[in-house]
């Protein structure tokens, strides 16, 4: 560290603060990108193997701690033990972020490959490090781009294997979880509407378009465009809102929720 100039030293510290990586990793990444901070992030995230030199022996130990006794996977029981160790509620949305990092295919399951390479990519080889990272993962939800990725990841993660669409109950649960994080004033109306009128599974298109809808159309619907190529379910939702006088033009509902 002492060998570095002051500007470089600042960058290393910044990098470490943001990524949570070790000094060694930070130096490596910054050097590889010729001391551009942005470039270093790219390097850091696209080449996970350089981020941390995790001890694969420790990873094996961690895995075997949670592994299901009958199959070579971590199943629901293992996950609840993990949550316990991490001092996190299994229902906590941060578990979705963890799954996203591990690129888990299905809810409540980690294959060995997902678990180990996921932790490797995160640079975690001990529970302490894991616990430290949880806090950082929470902040990742605030990032617009990452939230979108996590949101879209959630669809595939939550749906039943082999099915194309997401069961309504699961979808509603996920939405309530996700939109608790990213405030959307109409989420309760949306869920009520689905239960009252739709009662069918949710397609991927509807799932991903809903986030766009929540982000771009304001809750008073003043900038809603009927010709706007929204999925018909969203069109019907708007109709439902208007029919039931939930939206009164010019009288937007509680804004305080929206940040």
């Amino acid at each position: 560290m002492h060998k570095l100039g002051r500007g470089h030293r600042d960058k290393v510290q910044q990098f470490m603060a943001i990524t949570g990586a070790s000094e060694k990793v930070a130096l490596h990444a910054l050097k590889a990108s010729d001391w551009h901070l942005e470039g270093a992030f790219d390097v850091f995230y696209s080449q996970p193997q350089i981020k941390a030199f995790t001890d694969s022996r420790h990873l094996e130990e961690l895995y075997s701690r949670y592994k299901d006794p009958y199959v070579d996977m971590i199943m629901a029981d293992g996950i609840s033990v993990l949550c316990n160790d991490l001092q996190v509620d299994p229902q906590d949305i941060v578990m979705l972020v963890v799954s996203w990092h591990m690129k888990a295919a299905t809810m409540c399951e980690f294959s060995k490959q997902e678990f180990i390479s996921g932790l490797q990519a995160l640079g975690i080889d001990s529970l302490e490090k894991f616990r430290e990272r949880i806090q950082f993962m929470r902040t990742e939800l605030k990032d617009e781009q990452k939230f979108r990725e996590i949101y879209n990841f959630a669809f595939g993660w939550a749906k039943e294997k082999g099915q194309k669409s997401l069961a309504l109950d699961t979808a509603i649960g996920m939405w309530q979880l996700l939109f608790a994080e990213k405030q959307w004033a109409l989420v309760d109306h949306w869920c009520q509407f689905l239960q009252a009128r739709h009662n069918k599974a949710i397609s991927r298109d509807t799932w991903s378009q809903l986030l766009e809808f929540a982000k771009t159309v304001d809750p008073s619907l003043s900038n809603y465009d009927a010709e706007g190529a929204w999925p018909y379910l969203i069109d019907e939702f708007v109709e439902y809102l208007n029919e039931n006088n939930i939206i009164q033009k010019g009288q937007p509902i509680d804004w305080s929720l929206k940040r």
Binding site: K164, S165, R204, S208, Q209, E227
Partner: protein
Amino acid sequence: MSTQKKRNFQIEAFKHRVVVDPKYAEKTWKILEHAIHEIYNHNASGLSFEELYSAPKRNFQIGPLKRQIVMDPNYADKTWKILEEGIHEIYNCNISGLSFEELYRNAYNMVLHKFGEKLYSGLVTTMTHHLEVISKSIEAAQGGLFLEELNRKWADHNKALQMIRDILMYMDRTFIPSTHKTPVHELGLNLWRDNIIHSAKIQTRLQDTLLDLVLRERTGEVINRGLMRNVIKMLMDLGSSVYQDDFEKHFLEVSADFYRAESQQFIECCDCGEYLKKAERRLNEEMERVSHYLDAKSEAKITSVVEKEMVESHMQRLVHMENSGLINMLVDDKYEDLGRMYSLFRRVPNGLFIIRDVMTSHIRSTGKQLVTDPERLKDPVDFVQRLLDEKDKNDKIINLAFNNDKTFQNALNSSFEYFINLNSRSPEFISLFVDDKLRKGLKGVSEEDVEIVLDKVMMLFRYLQEKDVFEKYYKQHLAKRLLSGKTVSDDAERSLIVKLKTECGYQFTSKLEGMFTDMKTSEDTMQGFYASSFAETGDGPTLAVQVLTTGSWPTQPSATCNLPAEILGVCEKFRGYYLGTHTGRRLSWQTNMGTADLKATFGRGQKHELNVSTHQMCALMLFNNADRLSYKEIEQATEIPASDLKRCLQSMACVKGKNILRKEPMSKDIAEDDAFFVNDKFSSKFYKVKIGTVVAQRESEPENQETRQRVEEDRKPQIEAAIVRIMKSRRVLDHNNIVAEVTKQLQSRFLPSPVLIKKRIESLIEREFLERDKVDRKLYRYLA
């Protein structure tokens, strides 16, 4: 005295010349002789009077004239006196004593001797003086004589002017152009204008007199049109500005006032037709007036005045006039009045638009009434016939009254399209109408008439938005016609199919054509069957099978009923034969579509041949072994679906004259616990009795729903196919464009709603034919 003097030096001059040119006289005479010849030969156009008169002299006059100016200083005054005298005489119509030659020569000399100025100003003064006198005498003319006096004086003035011009010809030719003065004739006209027409006492009087005459003619009096024409002609001769300022301008103003008042009066007391008649007559009168005594250029102006005052300002009121307006005319087929309205309204801006607008809304509202009236829905054939009548009626109006105006035809078409589609059953009814015509309606009608009816039906068909619904029903109805052998004319059937094909393409009719092919093949098959060894049945019943290709026919998945043993035997034989000749096929009996002929002997020995449906036959055959059967027993034995069974029993037990069965208890409807007997007392005038099934010709409500649903289902793949076709060629397209293109592609069959298209797009996204663009969510990409 003066003449004496002049002669003196001319003689001198001659003397002088004669010496110089001894041949002069001869040469000059040659010219004159030639001219005289030409005059006799009526070939005077090439001759110059002035040249003949003076040219020969020019050569030698130069010398003597120089001397003369010096000689007589009073010459100009004297000469002018002579000319002035002459002009006086001319104006007094006293020309017999005048020598034209002399006057001309004097005028000529004056110009020659540089007294042109004096001559010209003298002329102006003299003429002005005379015109003042004339003006007095015109002013003095009383009442009706005023115009006549004016006209007469004008004629006199013209005559005088003609003569004066001739006398002053030389001045007109040489002096006036070189000094840029007004030529004599024009001068005369100008002086007339300033002294007579524009004199204070005449100007307004003339206007008033003329306008009064026009007014009198308008109110029906006969006026002297010749006089009128002359006076107007005078004004025009004085220059178009005189005509316009002194007459036309006031004429148009007065006319506008007149017609404003008159139209106001008419509109209060006349009905629309009468008013239009009057307006048209007024318009014609004005045009006639122009041709009789006004400038042709005034026609456009005066007609536009009449159009504005009589038509344009009252258009709305006329069109909407109670009891006689446009709508009443349309209702009562008043072709003449309508034609009049059309030709009058066409003259003014927006006129036709108003007519078209009112007509369109009228057709729409009557049409809407027609198609939504629940009474009309009871009889589909009448319903369609009324539509056709309505169309004929309006076509005729447009043809006879509206000059076959394209914009009116378009308005009519769009109106029909609008209201026909208001009733979702229109496609069904049109198909039923065709069914009715092809079943019985066209018997004994010539081929041309059949074509006319079919063409009319096609015209209605064109208005339909849901052509696929029509196809569905048409298929059902055609199937029934073909299977029951009810088609009157094969040619008519085929002709309609050809029409549908030209309208909607091969796809639309391929299945219909398949049905005809099946009928033909079945005939051959039956011949083959009876020629083969399979058919040796002895006394068994004769079977006629129609083999229908699945998919071409609108087969309902119906539970097959239990056929009587006798029939079943023959059926099995046929099955054996058919499957033997066509391997790999499957036959299933459509018992709900067949018919049977039965020989029946009733209790008192009456023998009849009964024509019944297959279901009825199944039920009747049971009575060969039983006298009394309950509804339940029949249902169990035949396994005919309840609704069908009820209908077929109803038609055998409850229809008067066809009641071959007796029911207990007697009632109109079939109940679950009814019992049936053969009606021993059955009697009929005919040996052959046809037992119709009580068919709901129109579909019942649930059936209708079902057909709708099937149509809706059929549309889904069509919409998807269209989307894929479009996306395959465009690769990337935004939502609204896809909707527009799909609508366009499918228009010839039905009108897909945007919501429906959207749902199909979403389904295609789910099945990964399409995806949304990552950046612009309104864009779709085609995934190959």
